[in-house]
């Protein structure tokens, strides 16, 4: 048995003992609140104690110091379980790796171990009401004080802000230079009294995100991540991670617009023998499994040292288009009952209503197509965009 196989076996054994098997019937939780926060923290701590948190992170920051192979092995085993680690997903996927890469030694030592141990929860604060696709046109400001910086402005679409201890925020520190150049990334204490978190209700009636207001929020000088004025580079790294995370997926068994769910829906309505419905279900399977395979191809290439570049955007785009397509199919399967919110339809109908939102989250389809066109295919950039105009001379949304 290789050390990888051994690691995998150990992970499997631990998960079988400590985690719930994946429950297909339970479905997914639009507000992410099914598990109490304390339970998530407890589980994350146990995971860390067992040696399965921060698998590839260095030991000196609380990680396990292992390789990508171990991480993949663990993730593959974990796919069969329902881990209550939702509140840590962002911290471990975005601020964590960024601090690991760009943070000071002090920041790494201070913030990474409590994150891995489940003691502190993180969020990320990028999007603003006036800066959606064009994140770099953000208007939140950070102005220098004697001891550090004063942050003012508004962020939006912040998942988990309501229970986060810290956040990584990007703010404008120099409005006189081109928009990408005047941005700095900070670590901000979400418990500061100048921070106000308001739930953001979306089309489904749920509030899976927040608006976050910053009113004279002081941060110390050593809260800067990376260099002053270099916040955009840090943000790009984080956004790329986000797109890969969102774009992955494929045949998620809990997806109400997935193949398994829609087959069940068709059967419940006696449409499993309808030729046209069967054919569309076949196409759904093909698209869904291809998306899964595409994710695995990118994964294998990464492992093999091939740069996947911006191809994560292609996966994100494909996933968004598939969800919208599946939402149409679901509607046609349901037929006239779609107008009525029958109990058996609740999850599917909510997913249909949410599908356009899902396509927008993490960058609109138009932005993803631009990224694929320019960075994967090498096409020319859009004419006339304002990369070099000083921010304070830019045209912004009214």
């Amino acid at each position: 048995m290789t050390s990888i196989d051994e690691f995998r076996a150990r992970a499997r054994a631990w998960l079988e003992q400590h985690a719930k098997p994946f429950d297909e019937a339970a479905g997914y939780d639009l507000e992410g609140s099914a598990v109490p926060l304390q339970e998530s923290k407890r589980f994350q701590k146990a995971l860390w104690e067992a040696g399965f948190a921060g698998i590839t992170w260095p030991k000196e920051y609380g990680g396990q110091g292992l390789g990508a192979a171990e991480l993949i092995a663990f993730n593959e085993e974990a796919a069969d379980f329902d881990l209550p680690t939702g509140p840590f997903t962002i911290g471990l996927g975005m601020p964590g790796p960024t601090i690991l890469e760009l943070g000071t030694e002090e920041q790494r030592k201070r913030y990474l171990p409590p994150l891995l141990r489940g003691d502190e929860i993180w969020c990320q604060l990028f999007s603003e009401p006036g800066a959606g696709s064009d994140v770099a046109s953000l208007q939140t400001t950070a102005t220098r004080t004697e001891t550090g910086w004063l942050i003012n402005g508004q962020k939006v679409w912040t998942s988990g802000a309501q229970y986060s201890d810290f956040g990584t925020i990007i703010a404008r520190t120099d409005p006189t230079v081109a928009k990408h150049r005047g941005i700095t990334m900070f670590i901000v204490d979400m418990h500061h009294p100048g921070v106000t978190v308001r739930p953001l209700v979306v089309a489904t009636g749920h509030a899976p995100f927040n608006e976050v207001f910053f009113d004279d929020v002081e941060v110390p000088a050593d809260a800067v991540v990376g260099e002053v004025g270099e916040g955009w580079g840090a943000a790009v790294v984080m956004l790329r991670n986000e797109r890969v995370t969102i774009g992955a997926g494929g045949r998620a068994r809990s997806n109400p617009l997935g193949f398994d769910s829609l087959v069940e829906l068709a059967r419940a309505r006696g449409l499993e023998t309808d030729t046209a419905v069967r054919r569309r279900l076949a196409v759904l399977y093909a698209r869904e499994s291809a998306l899964g395979a595409y994710g695995r191809v990118l994964h294998e290439e990464t492992t093999a040292g091939v740069e996947i570049g911006a191809r994560g955007s292609a996966a994100k785009l494909a996933g968004a288009e598939l969800a919208l397509w599946a939402a149409d199919l679901a509607q046609d399967i349901i037929g006239s009952d779609i107008a009525l919110g029958g109990a058996d339809l609740e999850r599917v109908v909510a997913a249909i209503v949410a599908a356009p939102g899902g396509a927008v989250a993490g960058g609109t389809n138009e932005i993803q197509r631009n990224i694929v066109g320019e960075r994967v295919l090498g096409l020319a950039k859009d004419p006339g965009v304002d990369r070099n105009t000083p921010f304070n001379q830019l045209k912004l949304s009214r």
Partner: protein
């Protein structure tokens, strides 16, 4: 008669548009649909009475204005554009069915009250477990005869069933399929308001357990076919109005929302989607004009033309409403923004009075394919 609006139609449309803007703009609609009522009673009184919409296409002899389908269509576009909750569609279908039947007494009794807005009528045809809007063979049965007829069965997706004073129910009687009037107060009648996806429409599940009813004389099958045409006209009208509202809203946003230093409408990714939305609207609109022209001028072509208009307006609106959300980005996904109300209205409207399969099958039938 032509395909473009007459001066009277322009003026009617303008009146309705002004009324909607003043009395029931979208923030007001939000309040109403957030409450207990299916619609604002006062708004409905004004629409029905002052603006005369409830009786617009009812002949003068029954208390209506005897106007054309094109007139009604012009008004419905404006109500659709404003997502105005009202029982107008239910009344149009109920009155249309009665007018297509041959029961003078029933007409004289019911139509004038509908025309003045005093009575809401609802059409109860769909049944549980049957995907067709109008079942060919309803399972609801009528027994007895003369004054002692009673109905038993269940009807679903009854538009404004909970607000109706009278129901027109399709049932199988001793002489075959017929349409029966049932008073809201009838014993054995249970009406349960549905939870709905689109809060601007009210729908109900109706059970009849020996409910007293009265057969309306006439050819029910022909009357229901006429009703299907009228439903297509009316729904396509509302949807064309709503599509134009989505197009206008999104076009305006594309002019004032900036990204990368340009209004987003300058980018072909947005511009071309809006051009496609324009075409979805323009073609559905043209098909609707042809359908109302046929209704008023060449009735033999109405069935085909109305089904064709609806075959474009429903999916066209669904696409337009979805694009409205998508092109507004994150903002379009918030509850605060109106886009999701249009999207939900489009989702429900796509299957209202027959889903896409139903419409396409019916159009193919009418085309003799």
């Amino acid at each position: 008669m032509s395909l473009i609006f007459t001066d009277d139609q322009k003026s009617l449309a303008e009146t309705v548009r002004r009324f909607v803007a003043q009395r029931t703009p979208l923030p007001k609609v939000r309040e109403v649909i957030g409450g207990d009522q299916a619609y604002d009673q006062e708004v409905w009184s004004r629409l029905a009475g002052d603006l005369g919409l409830a009786g617009l296409t009812i002949p003068e002899e029954y208390g209506g204005a005897g106007a054309t389908q094109a007139d009604l269509s012009a008004a419905l576009r404006e109500l659709g554009a404003g997502l105005v909750p009202s029982p107008l569609l239910a009344c149009v279908l109920t009155a249309g069915a009665l007018l297509a039947l041959d029961d003078e007494e029933a007409k004289r009794e019911v139509l004038p009250r509908i025309a003045e807005g005093a009575l809401v009528g609802a059409l109860a045809v769909s049944e549980p477990g049957n995907r067709r809007w109008i079942p060919a063979e309803p399972e609801t049965t009528a027994t007895g005869s003369g004054d002692a007829v009673t109905l038993s069965g269940a009807k679903v997706a009854v538009l404004n069933g909970a607000e109706a004073g009278v129901l027109l129910v399709q049932a199988r009687g001793p002489q075959g399929v017929g349409l029966y009037l049932v008073e809201r107060s009838a014993g054995g009648l249970t009406v349960t308001k549905d939870e709905v996806v689109d809060p601007t429409r009210s729908s109900a599940t109706v059970t009849l357990d020996g409910a007293p009813a009265r057969l309306v004389a006439g050819d029910a099958v022909a009357a229901l076919d006429r009703v299907a045409d009228l439903a297509n006209l009316a729904i396509a009208s509302e949807q064309c109005g709503a599509m134009l509202a989505c197009l206008t809203m999104t076009t305006e946003y594309a002019k004032v929302r900036y990204a990368f230093g340009q209004p987003i409408g300058a980018y072909q990714g947005v511009k071309h989607k809006l051009a496609d939305m324009y075409n979805l609207w323009a073609l559905a609109d043209a098909a609707l004009r042809e359908a109302t022209r046929a209704a008023d001028e060449e009735p033999a072509k109405l069935g085909t033309a109305a089904a064709a208009a609806r075959t474009l307006s429903s999916p066209g609106y669904l696409t337009s409403a979805k694009e409205t959300m998508l092109l507004h980005g994150g903002i379009g996904f918030t509850w605060e923004h109106d886009a999701h109300f249009f999207y939900k209205n489009a989702i429900a409207g796509n299957v209202l009075a027959g889903d896409a399969d139903y419409q396409q099958d019916r159009l193919a039938d009418k085309l003799g394919v």
